[in-house]
């Protein structure tokens, strides 16, 4: 069985934010909520690197471990989802998550399905939620369910440089391994020595 994973290839990420707006577009995400962000390290300095970050769909998800109402569940594909009907918006998962994935939109976010009652919102790997697949009810709360449609997360599908890869972890690893092999220990990027000194 597949175990779904994201991988962002920092050698290719150019911080174009295509993944961010693809997500906004696909799930109609309101202003103020960002299920995915691009983080740039060493901005404007030699060795500058960017990576796109969202929920990493951990195998042993800390959010799931700490949730007081046990609203998280892992699908057969290894995607970590949550039930907004159970979520109480306490923010404990925010403490636990190493990536800052959970979002707590306030009223300002438009009082949309996601922002309602201060509940948590996060990346679903485009797999919807506990409602029946491909229903309007599922879309209202979680956005589109591309996995049920047989597609992968739109952020990765639309990535401008194919830096962000999503899919079965084994296949993602194969793609990345092939790239690393091709680069052949040729990390001659300007600033590499700065980033990896020592």
């Amino acid at each position: 069985m597949a175990r779904m994973k994201f991988l962002c290839d920092a050698e290719r990420c150019i911080e174009c934010n295509g993944c961010v707006t693809a997500c906004k577009n696909e799930h109609d995400i309101p202003w103020g909520v960002n299920r995915r962000r691009v983080i740039t390290m060493g901005d404007g300095e030699p060795g500058e690197k960017s990576v796109s970050v969202a929920c990493m769909h951990c195998t042993d998800a800390p959010c799931q471990a700490v949730c007081p109402v046990d609203c998280f569940y892992t699908t057969d594909d290894g995607i970590v989802l949550h039930d907004k009907n159970l979520c109480i918006g306490c923010g404990y998962c925010f403490y636990a998550c190493p990536f800052g994935a959970p979002q707590y939109p306030g009223k300002e976010a438009g009082g949309s399905a996601f922002g309602a009652r201060g509940k948590m919102d996060k990346c679903t790997f485009c797999a919807g939620g506990p409602e029946d697949d491909l229903t309007d009810a599922e879309y209202e709360k979680y956005g589109r369910n591309r996995i049920a449609e047989g597609a992968l997360p739109l952020c990765a599908e639309m990535c401008s440089t194919k830096a962000l890869i999503a899919g079965d972890g084994d296949m993602v690893a194969d793609i990345y391994r092939e790239r690393v092999l091709k680069r052949g220990g040729r990390p001659q990027n300007w600033g590499w020595d700065t980033a990896y000194k020592g």
Partner: protein, 971 residues
């Protein structure tokens, strides 16, 4: 690598939108929260319903449209193919439509250009189809307030005023400013429209984007376009970027660039800033803004010093390289470092990389073109590629990345004040050729123009019909300059800003004054634009809603010269109309509707797009826009998946052997089935298979030196040497005349390859393996330009006044494109003491152009909420300012902008950078309330060009935006 939530100091403003996701400072400082909630109707659900009942432009119908554009489980979905409307890469867009509503966007994996990918802008284009902030009705200003009106009233009222102006001041007093946002058909129709109105005062963004490229490059080897393609960069062994930040301006191109890099190609980035592109480079070369010629000659100094030039290539295919060598000899490493700031070792490494890794390509953009010596820069870049023998090969070439989605096509259709479609120029012969294509009497067309003459050429008076009109960069001077100083009857009195962001032009305060002095100003655009709010005038301003390219259809030319076809995704929103429909309405009102559409079917005021394509197919012989019939382009779109993603050649399938989008020149008639030309001047292929050589455009000899190619010719050519361009007479001399059919002979008699409307001359030349435009050398020396050999000249506002004595600018000119143009009189004063910082400008990935469209898209606007200025920590400390502080940036001309600082090492000490996409503020004042209610973009900010100064290229009137001076003080 460890992830940090709060990233490096100095990047706050860039990520303010992102940081707010955690719940603090949700709306940043730019968008007032209350205003935001009142006017936005952010997306769906409750907020949108609130908007429907609230104030604003939206009628109930529109609110319903915008309130619910989500996909529904029980509705059928239709997929429609289009092309992104943001940049020239030409990314395929797949739109999902339910019941006429654009509900989703899917990756276009079949497109060989983007392979499904999008940047932030491309991934968000669906929003333009909802357009919460779009202009939905025609409006005019009455007593300082915006009032809605009908299309009929608007066209009648505006048309009457224009006809009055025409009677009083002549046709040249109405200025038709067109757009690179038009598709090819609209671009062509617009240029024809201006011609039939009787003026050459018509222009568009290309003037202020790549005009110096088109002029410099076309005058070097024949055509002024990107020679290879984004995809072809997979074949490059070295890539040399100068003044191009592809990671932000052409993000999807980076997919091909990084693929090349992973194939082993070296990436060199030359730029004043350490850009996002530079972050991926093998070598970053930091230069002083405006010193491009010095950098290139500095590189070539090492090439010539070490004998790295391609002698055989130069001998066979280049004229004038010896004169370049003489100039380059002056640029020894010490002089290069003195002028450009680049040290010897850095320069030598770059030269060596280019020499040892061939073929190498050069990429340049606005960083090189937007200078008073822009044409010198572009020719220096060409000279570098010619010296290295990198032209006409896969993986080499001059990969000039164009800007707007159809700026290549709009340039080819010549929405330009100095030419007719296909770069025919403005000579009587050119007018006669196009009059014949239009099926109009030449005398009728001639009588549309002002018959008087205001300029002399070689002692003879020449009327405005044959003289270049004013360029878009200078229209404000056409309004403000003394009438007697202008080479036309009267000042510009009516301005039509059709798909144009005025904040992309320099000298903001003078633009405001010009807008206030006009009799009338007409804005035709999907958004109100900065034009709606800049002038303080109670009336005489009209806003007419055009729809976007997703609400109409037609062909669009990507930077690599490939034509793609957009299908209509949705019907025009509100009362907006397609541009070509608006053109027809105005032409009818102004009295030439029938002439405009003589060969074009019109239904409900909408000219048939395919008929327009077929019409330009019949006239664009110069650059081979003749083989791309609507049927052929559509067939390519339907078979996108059959094209190789590196060569762009179809492998099998219905268009086997053709190149994607039939990149021009696609010679002859559509029936000739030329496959398009993927790489210009590539002699390894026959012309019939997309091969070519340099164009014979500049004569056959100069001062006894042969200008034709020597011993170099395209594969299979029956003339195995250089030859001049083809004409009826040459066919006869060669004994090839009888290869023409009888029908072809009738039209070809007395004509040449450019004006033979049968296409026969081209067909026969190609049948004999020859290029219709001849086979010559490229010229590294353009003897018709002010500086035949490209030389360095200091900017008008230079930070290095000590260099002015050695590298002075030009003398002032009395009439350049009808206007007096200043050079030396400005440089005569040293401003560098009071204004110690170099001010340069550029792009952000989230926005495009003047930003009126992209700042109105909440998915994009959220990511960049503040106009800012990048300043080096040392400079910031020198004037006592900190990160994210409001400051005044003031120019030597007295204009100033109030912006937020971003303290960063991205810029060198002494240089500040501002992005040019902001508008809606003016010299510290927020103009939000001057927009029609509900139509202000989500994010407003100071337009950087308010504080950009005077300065224009000596050949094309390109504006200088990359190298001015400023001072910065705390606000």
């Amino acid at each position: 690598m460890k992830l940090k939530r709060k990233i490096a100091p100095g990047s706050g403003a860039r990520v303010s939108g992102l940081e707010t996701g955690a719940g603090t400072n949700l709306f940043g400082n730019t968008v007032n929260r209350r205003t935001f909630l009142r006017n936005s109707g952010i997306t769906a659900g409750g907020a949108a319903i609130a908007v429907a009942g609230g104030p604003g432009l939206l009628s109930k119908v529109h609110a319903a449209e915008s309130a619910d554009n989500r996909p529904k489980a029980d509705l059928d979905t239709v997929k429609v193919r289009s092309v992104c409307t943001h940049c020239s890469v030409g990314c395929g867009v797949i739109a999902e439509v339910q019941n006429g509503v654009w509900t989703g966007q899917e990756p276009d994996y079949d497109s060989p250009i983007n392979l499904g990918s999008h940047c932030a802008k491309g991934a968000s284009v669906r929003e333009h189809g909802h357009g919460e902030r779009r202009l939905k009705n025609p409006m005019k200003k009455v007593n300082g307030k915006w009032e809605e009106m009908s299309w009929d009233d608007a066209v009648a009222e505006i048309g009457d005023k224009m006809l009055d102006i025409r009677n009083e001041s002549g046709p040249d007093s109405v200025y038709w400013l067109g757009s690179a946002k038009f598709n090819n058909e609209q671009s062509y129709l617009f240029r024809k429209f201006a011609a039939l109105w009787g003026t050459n005062n018509v222009d568009h963004q290309a003037r202020i984007c790549h005009s110096t490229t088109v002029a410099g490059v076309a005058n070097t080897w024949g055509y002024g376009a990107m020679t290879n393609s984004y995809n072809d960069m997979h074949n490059s062994k070295a890539m040399f970027f100068i003044g191009s930040n592809a990671a932000e301006a052409h993000p999807v191109a980076m997919q091909h660039i990084l693929r090349a890099k992973e194939n082993g190609s070296k990436l060199i980035v030359v730029d004043p800033r350490f850009t996002r592109t530079a972050a991926h480079a093998d070598q970053f070369v930091q230069m002083r803004p405006g010193s491009d010629v010095g950098v290139i000659w500095g590189l070539l100094w090492h090439v010539f010093e070490n004998g790295w030039e391609d002698e055989e290539f130069i001998q066979q295919r280049v004229y004038g390289m010896d004169q370049i060598k003489e100039e380059v000899a002056k640029w020894n490493p010490e002089e290069v470092e003195r002028v450009t700031g680049v040290p010897e070792a850095t320069m030598k490494l770059a030269a060596q990389t280019m020499a040892e890794n061939r073929p190498g390509t050069i990429v340049w953009c606005m960083g090189g073109t937007q200078h008073t010596i822009g044409n010198n820069n572009t020719r220096a870049y060409c000279a570098m590629q010619l010296a290295l023998g990198n032209m006409g090969v896969q993986g080499g070439g001059a990969n000039i990345f164009r800007g707007h989605d159809n700026v290549q096509g709009a340039t080819d259709m010549c929405i330009l004040s100095h030419s007719l479609p296909g770069y025919f120029g403005l000579s009587a012969g050119a007018w006669k050729h196009w009059s014949a294509v239009w099926d109009l009497e030449f005398d009728w067309v001639k009588n549309r123009f002002d018959p008087e003459a205001y300029e002399e050429v070689k002692g003879k008076p020449v009327s405005p019909m044959h003289r270049a009109g004013m360029p878009v960069s200078r229209w404000i001077d056409g309004v403000l300059e003394e009438k007697d100083n202008i080479a036309q009857k009267d000042n510009v009195r009516a301005m039509v800003l059709w798909g144009h962001a005025p904040n992309s032009q320099t000298r903001g305060p003078e633009m405001k004054e010009a807008m206030e002095k006009l009799d009338i100003m007409v804005v035709i655009d999907p958004y109100p634009t900065h034009s709606a709010v800049l002038p303080d005038r109670p009336d005489g301003v009209y806003l007419l809603p055009a729809c976007t390219q997703f609400e109409t259809y037609g062909s669009v030319t990507a930077s690599n010269r490939s034509l793609q076809w957009r299908d209509k995704v949705i019907e025009p929103l509100g009362k907006s109309l397609p541009d070509h429909t608006i053109m027809y309405k105005f032409a009818s009102k102004l009295g030439f509707g029938d002439e405009l559409t003589k060969n074009i079917a019109v239904e409900n005021d909408e000219p048939l797009i395919e008929d327009i394509t077929r019409e330009f197919n019949k006239g664009m012989w110069t650059i081979g826009y003749t083989g791309q019939s609507p049927e052929r382009i559509k067939e390519h779109m339907a078979n996108r998946h059959t094209f190789n993603t590196t060569t762009l050649k179809a492998e099998g399938g219905p268009v086997d052997g053709e190149y994607y989008g039939l990149p021009w020149p696609c010679w002859g008639t559509p029936e000739m089935k030329h496959p398009g030309t993927p790489v210009l001047y590539d002699t390894s292929k026959s012309v019939a298979e997309g091969g070519l050589n340099f164009r014979a455009r500049f004569g056959v000899e100069r001062e006894g030196v042969n200008l034709l190619a020597e011993g170099s010719f395209s594969a299979g050519a029956e003339i195995e040497d250089g030859y001049p361009e083809f004409s009826a007479d040459i066919l006869k001399n060669l004994g090839w005349w009888d290869d023409l059919t009888d029908d072809e002979k009738l039209l070809a008699e007395g004509k040449n390859w450019k004006t033979d409307r049968s296409g026969g001359i081209q067909r026969v030349a190609i049948a004999h393996g020859c290029a219709p435009f001849g086979n010559a050398k490229a010229r590294a020396v353009v003897w018709t330009f002010p500086d035949p050999v490209p030389i360095h000249r200091e900017p008008l506002y230079t930070s290095r006044y000590d260099l002015v004595a050695d590298y002075p600018t030009y003398e002032d000119r009395k009439s350049h494109y009808r206007l007096p143009t200043r050079y030396g009189s400005i440089q005569a004063t040293d401003y560098s003491g009071d204004f110690p910082l170099i001010h340069t400008s550029g792009r952000l990935v989230e926005y495009e152009g003047g930003g009126d469209e992209s700042r109105s898209n909440p998915w994009l606007a959220e990511l960049q909420q503040d106009m800012f200025v990048e300043i080096n920590p040392a400079d910031a400390n020198d004037v006592g300012i900190k990160d994210e502080q409001m400051v005044w940036l003031e120019s030597p001309e007295g204009s100033k902008i109030k912006v937020k600082t971003m303290v960063t090492n991205r810029v060198a000490k002494g240089v500040v950078f501002t992005p040019f996409h902001f508008g809606g503020h003016f010299q510290g004042e927020d103009l939000h309330d001057k927009y029609p209610s509900g139509a202000a973009p989500y994010v407003l900010g100071e337009a950087t060009n308010t504080a950009m100064t005077y300065g224009y290229d000596s050949v094309t009137q390109m504006q200088e935006t990359k190298c001015s001076l400023c001072k910065i003080t705390a606000a």
